[in-house]
């Protein structure tokens, strides 16, 4: 499998956002955009859907809640009910702190796990170097280069309006 990309390198946030928007609107397929920090307007310019991680987090939190509530009631009220200072076996107020901690623990671990699965990141992953300075001060727009009919001149013209610094072609083995 081989993918080819056509890259435009920019040096600031507003240019990359504007260039991304116009490129997408002109009908090119944007592969991805690479930036040294999270640019807030980019997802919208790239047409990305809003992240659903909040719901994932909520689901995991609910899981933590259920496990904590169920296990505390079962442990302290059913499996081996111990009378502690005359408190009822059903000591809901005393179960809330652990319940809360479990909500947070499950929510936090769940969202971390989902992030890694969604972004397919894992320790030791090797990814194609798009541009050596993309983790420093360069903003790179990558467009899918599917066939030979790709009009490189037109896209170069388009990007020049937004002060593109450098144009490259890149192939992934």
């Amino acid at each position: 499998m081989s993918n080819s990309y056509f890259l435009g390198v920019f040096d600031n946030e507003s240019d990359i956002v504007a260039a991304t928007r116009i490129t997408r609107e002109s009908g090119y397929d944007i592969h991805d955009v690479y930036t040294p920090y999270a640019v807030h307007d980019l997802p919208e310019a790239m047409g990305l859907k809003s992240s659903r991680l909040t719901w994932v987090c909520l689901m995991f939190a609910l899981l933590g809640f259920s496990i904590a509530i169920f296990s505390q009631f079962w442990i302290a009220g059913v499996d081996w009910a111990v009378n502690v200072g005359g408190r009822p076996f059903n000591s809901l107020p005393a179960y809330l702190p652990v319940m809360f901690e479990c909500i947070v623990l499950f929510g936090g671990l769940g969202v971390l796990f989902t992030l890694f699965v969604r972004t397919k990141l894992y320790p030791g992953k090797k990814e194609l170097t798009i541009h050596p300075e993309v983790t420093n001060d360069r903003f790179v727009l990558a467009v899918e280069l599917r066939d030979s009919a790709f009009d490189t001149a037109a896209i170069t013209m388009l990007w020049e309006q937004y002060h593109v610094l450098e144009i490259r072609q890149l192939s992934e083995a």
Binding site: L48, S51, P97, R118, Y122, N136
Partner: protein, 471 residues
Amino acid sequence: MASTAPEKEDPTAPAPVLGPGQTYTTVTQKISSIITSRTPLGWIIGVALALGLMQCFALGVTWLLIKGVGVWGLNVPVGWGWAIINFVWWIGIGHAGTLISAILLLMRQNWRNSINRFAEAMTIFAVICAMQFPLLHTGRPWIAAYWLLPYPNSMGVWPQFRSPLIWDVFAVSTYFTVSLIFWYIGLIPDFATLRDKAKQKVSRVIYGILSMGWRGSAKHWHNYEMTSLLLAGISTPLVLSVHSIVSFDFSVGLVPGWHATIFPPYFVAGAVFAGFAMVLTLALPLRAVYGLHDFITDRHLNNMSKVMLATGLIVAYGYGMEQFYAWYSASTYEGYMMQNRTWGPYSFEYWMLILCNVAVPQLLWIKWVRLNPIMLFIVSMFINVGMWLERFIIVVTSLHRDYMPSSWDMYRSTPWDWLLYIGTIGIFLLGMLLFIRVMPVINIVEIRLLVPRKGHDKKPDHDASADASAD
């Protein structure tokens, strides 16, 4: 216009959060140079000192495991001594890290960007130090996990879920896990920067593994930002809950001096107070040694001092309320506890505590003190000591004379208590020093957000408004 930091005419306007003239490249270089430059002599001396202190820990633990917890100064009325004092002290110190990284993120206070990484690292190492004490106080720490985790023992009995001590196990382990996640998530893009800047193959490989193949893809950033926000969202109540649960260890009990409803907010404020003092204690020398004045500016000192002043006042409010309601309760035991605390055998410690935590921090009302690193360092040291004394007073004076005069006794620490306590300071220092040497001590990515935007931007500063509100 937008290419330089905006000059403000108003002399009272807040100082900038980033020194002038910084660009993305200078930021990357400056911060990674701390790692890539030659090892400074001061660092080597620091590590030697930390390792020396850790020998105390090794010695203290060895003797403890041979003889048992009897080597500590515990006795019958005072069954909780330095172990819980140190535990609470360290946990409290950790809280500033979470406050800075989570709460200030949600409040869009972008001055936090240059101190959050450092403060989060402090949280991690402080919690590690704190965890030593509950583990060691069991006397047989290798089987402590078995007692603490929700797993029935051979008689089929489970841990006691109505006890705040088991809440503590959940709170501290959750706190440690979530703080670690938050810290690591923040580090991933910076590891990627270090990987791309690395000159040696070894560091490229190591940072490559740690950065998980991060390339700064906008699709990744999109989910990454959401993750940070969510983690900040859950960390905020978490940080409140952890020290509240620590305070429940005392307040849920019946001992006069422990059982007070003010404890949760008062402990949380005390934790933040102590934590910020520790951040300053470490950040001020760090800034001087590595010349980080462009990143840790006067603005940071000023803001951190104000947080310390505010939380210090809440703590003082707590002391005042304890005094007033001990009298107002009209309970003999409450009244005697307060009188004993204030004028009894530990009154010296009590008044030292008032000096360190109430009197000295009032200097922070003065702007000159807030902006003077040396003064600030001195005030922070007072607070570090004062917060330790606070826990000493709460634990010891409440226990040593409670309901039954026949069992009153005095509490004296032993050298083994000292060795363990000093030893954990060694662990903490070593952790921080190693962290400074191998990881970006300031969040490079978030500092990029503070760099004035180039060229054609309409928005001069990402959070100019939130920025002004930080004052």
